[in-house]
Symmetry: none
DNA sequence: GATGAATGAGCATTCATTCAT
DNA sequence: CATGAATGAATGCTCATTCAT
């Protein structure tokens, strides 16, 4: 006979419980963002919420659990983002808009991205989901590029999937350097978004399309 | 009470010592690459070299010391790489060649890159050097793009420094996904290098130059 | 990466905590006294209090911290002792009383004295305070001897400061041999105190004063 | 059958060997004196003699062995010192001479005394010998005091053995503070020796003897 | 004899997690 | 619900000592 799992129910039963849980989660986000996940102690999280250390385990099974919840939130948003539709009639406008939104999103979630990147180096579970979310992104871009080729506005000699990963990664990595590594930069989001879009426009789309490109 | 002598000399004095040190270094590289730096124990390193744990400290002050030596090696190579000259007369050929070489280099040092990226998240010392090496890269690219603009072959409406970081980062990040994250990919280095070069060619250089571009 | 919070509060928060801390301190005193500070392990201390090793660090930063607390306690008492006033009208009676009190005090704190002496060999911090406390003692004695000379009852050809250190040290060292080294001795405190006082009386005070001396 | 003790012979067989051994011993004395016995590493000793660490065990069984040899040397000298005869006809002159010689001896061996005191806190073997040597001293003094009483020049109401330990310890402890603790002191050996002798003269000997006392 | 490489036991300290109140 | 006390496994590092050359 299997020993009965003594699974303690971690769901808050009261409004106060909900609040405590939320405070712990917020503190975890802040502490992880500041110190990194590995060097953050559970007691740092509880201290950040002005609580006693034991209470943490009333709401989370362990340290990994908060982390996973925070990263799940981020991944959900990222996936939703990736699924945002592009306007097939004006792909470059879509690129510009999406790029701007993307940078804004990344900036607002820089702490979570930082955690994600740190954790993904070790935790296969996390990395797999993280990679999957990005692949989804690239697939979308690839589809758009292919459609552009079909419509005669995409550069002929281009591997759409490869170019998608390259161009998508370009944006993502710039955001990383900018907001996570805090690369000093004089530029603002619209400026970078325009440069990105131009690189896409000239790099991936036929030059004759570029007449309607976003470059000033 | 005067503190005991701290000037322990860690240099190997014999050929055997050199061999041992090299074995430890190699084992460290392998262990860090496999388990990550933080979760690697010193005893993992010595066990990997079939030695007793104490011997490690005969050659390295601590766990950080091997790591730093490994990363210094990589950084030295990276910086040398960044300083490799471009052929000003045929920038696109240079891009193609450099990109191919870069991917090859990254692939051969994937384990060190993995360590570098992991460690740079926590260690300011390391991150600063790592960022500096990349900036050097981008500065070089920026200079090349500016020269191209001066010569009338670079796209006019382009911020050379911004574009440099974007294009440079694009290559780097693809290499990361490919070799460190082991993104499954059907492509080979020449193929990716050609696509990268085309994106540079069309994205950053005037279209009239592109007649001599590397796309088949 | 910002270093994690280091401001761990080591203060007990509950009555139970206070009790635990006190038990650990008592155990440390006993263990240090028995095995000496250097060879005492933290786990010896916790084992002596029937606790797990980790709890020690809830209340003390490290092994040195308990030691310092114990020695501070002793030093505080010693300094207070040194400041006890002498009766200027009857210096020899003061010597007798003080000597008796001193031996009693030393005997009751023999374990702490043992630790102090051991530690003072290595730790400059401790030695300095320890020496300072003794110097305070000697200064006091010196003042008394000088006053005796002024009043015509102190031996003329005496360097009061030198004699003070000699006479003060004589008492201290006898206490050390007696209670720390456990020199077998048939005598009791009053007997030794009387002999000490006589040596002071005849050695430092003019013989004509000695008529009122404490020797039976 | 008892397993045969594989006792390696540690006696030097050559002149060079003798020299090496002596150098190691000298280095040990210096290193112990500087860093203390416990914190001195065997490799500090060999390094101090510009030799490799392994050689140490060619001449000494272990770290304790050199220490014991050094302390044996000291103890032998101390015991010889204690056995030096006093001039029964002029005890105070003897006290003065012996005290001066004692301070000189202590000063010249301050490093060995320092080691002795440190080690005696832990090592029963050493402490026992050390205490025995001192007791021998005190016994001698006691005999002298008793003889003085018999001859009518010693203070009647004095316990000779007790006074011996007190007076002997006084000298010893002053030497310790002076030369080991390096108590800053303006005085020189003759001055202190004279004060010591006066304290003995007036403290232990009948006042009418003091006419021939050594005080100027 | 001499060198320096190699071994491995020993100990302080950290911190996630559980428990008593 | 909440507190903070208690547990104990885990690991980096030191250094006396032995060994191969």
């Amino acid at each position: 006979m299997v020993a009965p799992e003594v699974t303690t129910d971690l769901t808050p039963k009261t409004a106060k419980g909900n609040r405590t849980r939320a405070l712990l989660k917020a503190s975890a986000r802040e502490v992880f963002g500041r110190q990194g996940f590995k060097s953050a102690r559970v007691s740092d999280i509880t201290a950040g919420a002005s609580m006693s250390s034991g209470i943490f385990y009333r709401y989370y099974a362990d340290k990994d659990a908060v982390r996973d919840e925070l990263l799940s939130d981020l991944l959900k948003d990222v996936v939703a983002f990736a699924r945002d539709s592009w306007d097939p009639n004006d792909p470059l406008r879509s690129v510009l808009r999406t790029t701007e939104k993307y940078f804004t999103f990344y900036r607002d979630n820089r702490d979570l991205y930082k955690i994600m990147i740190e954790v993904a180096q070790h935790e296969d579970q996390v990395r797999v989901k993280w990679v999957a979310a990005r692949e989804e992104f690239y697939r979308r871009i690839g589809r758009m590029l292919r459609r552009a080729q079909d419509q005669g506005v995409g550069r002929r000699d281009m591997d759409p999937d490869l170019a998608a990963a390259l161009l998508g990664g370009m944006t993502e990595y710039y955001a990383y350097m900018w907001f996570v590594e805090e690369r000093s930069s004089e530029v603002d989001i619209p400026t970078v978004a325009r440069e990105v879009t131009n690189l896409w426009a000239y790099g991936a789309f036929s030059s004759d399309t570029s007449s309607g490109g976003p470059h000033e």
